[in-house]
Assembly symmetry: C2
Homo-oligomer: 398 residues x 2
């Protein structure tokens, strides 16, 4: 929402609220002089925000005479959002306050292939359960964010031919959840929400960064100029199916050959080890091997890092990030992967593009996805126009 | 400039001006009710904008009684910007009004290697000359935009180790021009300004597009989410030095081997033809060959397109544009190049990323760079904070 388009719709409570999001208490006079808006406008917008519970009176300002002026400030815990992060075989749900702090969260082993009805009903029940644990009214919820392990059309919240999510293609995820929660529901793929979570809690100053998830699949979330970039169809960051030279001829689950994912995803790495006589059925077993100093395991992981780095080298040329963060299930081997990634990226990168480039492991870890889903909900719910909608809905109730 | 940060600095003339940029005339009462700002604020901001010449009174509104209310609207030709597009061996300068229309322009053969002082003095003299031809006061100029054939740190306007621009490294381009014109000077690389020009005049609705320039070098300008993406160090879009399989071992002028530019840039294509016994010293000669149906020339251009497409295939996976525009000196062969590009991009692209993808030739043509440089100047000069600066400067003069 830019200043221009906002002005075209007039000055609402949401605009004033943006000023108060920093948490600093202000009097009505201070707000009027800071903004140049009419005193009558300020007064009515403040009343709306108080009625909606988004701000609160926080004690009186020192007055120069006459009666003290009361001050108002953001009421971060008055309203809540829920974030959910679904993987192929697990899911995490959190309830967060408006400052992005997780108040309560839970995780479960469950299959995304159980379909949208079962998955989303479980999400609904879990959110209601978390709210009850917090002794909060479900009506305090103002938005829900959901991350899913497949491509999503962000504008509608519908998955788009997701390969590992039978039954989800085109499913109206927001519509399903809004039967219970009459609030905005934002949906995106798991890697994009990871990028949002990693940025908001790990690297708040990063304007140009890439979150690379290395797990069963390989994908990335791109933040350029401070904003998550989804591309024209929501498929931006889909690096797992870029062709790499050393994968020539290797068949990928997507139907093509030579994809990065086909040689550097977790199943490909375990298969490569089996081919070399190393029986490592799980990532835990691989971790043991690496811990025991098995050079075949170490070499295989480093080679996977080099292959990922070959693709990231191109990404660095194209989008010039200042930060690449490696996350996902394989990031338990991030020392080896990152060593290989750096090797390839720096081997032939242009000096200008890598002058300030950092390649690091995730700071936020396994919670990045669910936190990012919640942050996506917060950013939407606290945007100027949406605050106006919330305020209007509250007024109807009051 | 977002609504939030703007609110934090108070309501200035620039905010009101954003509303008037659509060209529609409005009365002071209409502006007050459209924005919710205090009547006194509107009145003083309108006076400031009138004094600065950015808006003008445009006749009276039909009144419901009493004296008629005068209306104000954007005064697009009251102020001007200059745009300049420098290539390796030529330069174009244009003077444009605030709606982006070119009022007067000129081109010249000149070497960027003559250095910054000679080049920028020529630019200064040319702008003054164009203003004189237009019978306009140099004081009417409110910003200058410059495109240069090398990497530029956009925030400071200084070139960063540009390979074909001896003497320009770190040169203070804005400082040089501001000795004559006391206005903001915006500088970017030639491909980014081409992307801005192509978007503004050719594809105003494109939110996610890529402008690919194929000439001596190969580069691209990326517009994602409606905004030009420069990356952390201004090197975003630098696709000429991405490695392609068929270039393995070929030495590039950057010092690496295997770069796209080393096999698909104009000199590489002419060299490949010479190796096949075709003497085509210039692109004009190549054009004659193609016109005469020389299959070796046709095949060589199509192969160059395929190699460019191999890189663009990765770009499509990574940033998911809806539009790729091919421009630059080699775009005279765009039929053949685009056929080759499409072949590679569609050969292994993911269905979602290419569902709505168009790959087309430039609409704006050779003027895209200079127009984009001017548009960059306009967007900066008409941003809310900058308008406030302009207004203040005018007040000092008045």
């Amino acid at each position: 929402m830019t200043g221009i388009s906002r002005l075209l719709t007039g000055f609402g409570a949401g605009d004033l609220f943006q000023l108060l999001r920093d948490g600093r208490p202000r009097t009505r006079s201070e707000l009027a002089s800071e903004t140049g808006f009419a005193r009558s406008t300020i007064a009515s917008r403040i009343d709306e925000l108080l009625a909606a519970g988004l701000i609160a009176s926080v004690g009186d300002a020192v007055s120069t005479g006459g009666r003290p002026s009361s001050r108002v400030a953001l009421n971060a815990t008055a309203r809540l959002v829920a974030g959910a992060d679904f993987g192929a075989t697990h899911a995490t749900v959190a309830v967060m306050d408006l400052s992005g702090d997780v108040l309560e969260a839970t995780s479960a082993e469950r299959l995304i292939s159980s379909g949208p009805v079962e998955s989303l009903d479980w999400l609904r029940d879990t959110v209601l359960d978390l709210m009850e644990r917090l002794q909060r009214d479900p009506a305090d919820l103002i938005a829900v964010g959901v991350g899913l392990p497949g491509p999503v059309e962000h504008a509608t919240g519908r998955p788009t031919t997701p390969p590992i999510m039978p039954g989800w293609d085109g499913y109206d995820v927001p519509g399903h959840l809004r039967r219970t929660f009459s609030v905005p529901v934002l949906v995106d793929n798991d890697v994009n929400v990871m990028a949002l979570g990693e940025q908001s809690k790990g690297w708040p100053d990063a304007q140009d960064m890439m979150l690379v998830k290395v797990a069963t699949g390989i994908g990335s979330g791109i933040i350029s100029g401070g904003a998550l970039q989804r591309g024209a169809d929501g498929s931006a960051g889909d690096i797992g199916h870029i062709s790499v030279s050393s994968a020539a001829g290797v068949l990928c689950r997507c139907g093509n050959t030579g994809c990065l994912e086909a040689i550097a995803g977790a199943p490909a790495i375990l298969r490569a080890l089996a081919d070399q006589g190393r029986d490592v059925p799980t990532l835990g077993d691989l971790s043991d091997r690496v811990g025991a100093g098995d050079l075949v395991a170490v070499r295989t992981l480093r080679e996977a890092g080099r292959n990922i780095g070959e693709v990231l080298n191109m990404c660095v040329s194209l989008i010039n990030p200042s930060l690449i963060v490696v996350g996902g299930a394989m990031s338990r081997f991030s020392d080896l992967l990152i060593a290989g990634i750096r090797e390839s990226v720096y081997a032939r990168a242009m000096p200008l593009a890598t002058k300030n480039l950092m390649i690091v492991e995730s700071k936020v870890g396994a919670q990045a996805g669910v936190i990012g889903a919640g942050m996506m909900a917060i950013e939407h719910a606290l945007s100027p126009l949406q605050i106006d909608v919330t305020v209007t809905a509250s007024a109807a109730v009051v």
